[in-house]
């Protein structure tokens, strides 16, 4: 039930405390009542049942992806061989 989905903020409506997000092509309005930091267009957020739960840290995501690239390299490329 509560799988939270990463989405991108594409519009902000501060007055209504809501933002429009894009989840891989699907757009919808969600509530930003639970988030105290202001949201900006281009932020990545986690959505759960119609609410933004938190921002996703872009640097952290990039660092993790870099770490995985190193693991793959260390394991000698395509491990299927």
């Amino acid at each position: 039930m509560c799988l939270s989905i990463p989405s991108e903020v594409i519009a902000v409506d501060a007055e209504r405390q809501s933002v429009t997000v894009d989840t891989l092509g699907v757009r919808r309005d969600v509530s930003s009542h639970l988030i105290s930091d202001p949201l900006a267009i281009g932020d990545y957020v986690l959505i759960h049942i119609g609410f933004v739960m938190n921002k996703i840290d872009r640097d952290d995501a990039l660092n993790s992806l870099e770490l995985y690239r190193e693991i793959v390299e260390k394991m000698g490329g395509n491990p299927l061989n």
Partner: protein, 379 residues
């Protein structure tokens, strides 16, 4: 610049998954004892089955499916209460997603709807405000379910109802807490669990700190993990490393959104409206003290459980005799151990809640068994 697609693909990349699997397999030889990892949450069960992670792990690492799904752990009597509320004249019962299909002792909420009760499944709790405004002569009851992840959303709904003076909205609260359920699992004398991966979204709200006591009390490592397959594999690798080094620590793998403290604004909101419930009966785990929430006394005017107390059945009802959901939720059995799995019990005709919830262990096994290898190769 990071793009959303990259974010998804990076954490689902088959080459990375397989590299991590090789790393795990290499280290697992050094494990002093088998690693029995409980994935507390059905979201993880789903990932494990969908991406065939089971098959990628050495035989001394086992997943044990935990009680972490609000749909799976709902005892029949609570569904019977929802059905009783929906049967009262001029009541509209509103609830989230899968809940409507879970069998109670006189049928599911879907079957009550078919009999004419006004029951509305929604995907966003705030939609309830509109239903309440559009139906001023009716009483709207929000059948609230979910772990720490979903409780703040119910709190916002209540806050908005109070602020906007919407009087015809009541709540039936079934919010439950992860740490007491983990305690119940660990205190079972038959438990084999010796490591946990904790669901990231719960800790996005509550912080990683909610597992401190588990780590200390049971000397059991906990890694708070994301839901993508690479997240899960990295979390397993971290658990293996801890075990080999003889450590039991709390780690956050999902640092992309989880902190030690969590979302403080959401926690404050929950504390404003909710108090701990002394007892709550979990499907499969039985009564667990202080394991759920109820509305605070000052919001008694919103509490359907108090207002309709004389109409709500309280008889405790156990599952169909053949159903092994209880053992599955305690980590003592696997879906395939159940005699009716895939025969009497399937997603279209569920006997137990583990088959209903799309994240239930039985449902995940049913849907993905046999296709795991292919999925990894293709995705």
């Amino acid at each position: 610049m990071l793009e959303l697609k990259q974010l998804y693909q990076g954490f689902r990349d088959p080459t990375t998954i397989l590299s991590l699997a090789r790393d795990i397999a290499r280290l697992a030889d050094k494990l002093p004892a088998p690693l029995n990892v409980m994935e507390v949450c059905g979201g993880h069960t789903h990932t494990i089955m969908k991406y065939g992670l089971l098959e990628l792990l050495p035989s001394n690492i086992e997943f044990i499916h935990g009680p972490g799904c609000p749909v799976c752990i709902m005892p029949k009597e609570r569904i019977d209460q929802a059905a009783a509320l929906a049967s009262i004249d001029n009541v509209i019962l509103v609830t989230l997603g899968d809940m409507i299909r879970v069998p109670g002792s006189h049928g599911s909420l879907a079957s009550f709807r078919a009999k004419g009760c006004d029951i509305r499944p929604i995907y966003d709790p705030l939609d309830t405000l509109k239903i309440a405004k559009d139906n001023p002569k009716k009483t709207i009851v929000f059948f609230a379910i979910g772990f720490e992840t979903s409780t703040p959303m119910t709190a916002v709904l209540l806050q908005q109802a109070e602020r906007q003076g919407i009087k015809n909205l009541l709540f039936h609260i079934n919010h439950v807490l992860v740490p007491p359920a983990i305690d119940a699992v660990m205190q079972d004398s038959q438990t084999r669990v010796n490591a946990f991966i904790g669901p990231a979204h719960v800790s996005v709200i509550s912080g990683a700190k909610i597992y401190r006591s588990t780590v200390e009390k049971y000397a059991t490592p906990v890694v708070v993990s994301g839901f993508e397959p690479v997240d899960v594999m990295e979390s397993i690798l971290r658990l293996v490393r801890q075990r080999i080094e003889g450590k039991a620590e709390l780690e956050i793998q999902y640092t992309r959104a989880v902190s030690e403290a969590g979302n403080l604004a959401a926690q404050a909101l929950v504390n404003q409206y909710f108090q701990t419930r002394m007892q709550f009966r979990w499907r499969g785990l039985g009564e667990i003290s202080n394991s759920a929430l109820a509305l605070k006394d000052e919001f008694a005017h919103r509490d359907a459980e108090r207002i309709f107390a004389d109409r709500l059945p309280v008889k405790q009802i156990d599952d169909h005799k053949a159903c092994q959901c209880g053992d599955i939720l305690r980590g003592l059995a696997k879906p395939k151990d159940c005699k009716v799995f895939g025969r009497g019990c399937a997603p279209e005709t569920p006997l137990g809640s583990c088959m209903v919830s799309s994240e239930g262990a039985c449902n995940a096994y049913y849907r993905y068994q046999g296709i795991q290898k292919e999925t990894v190769a293709r995705s």
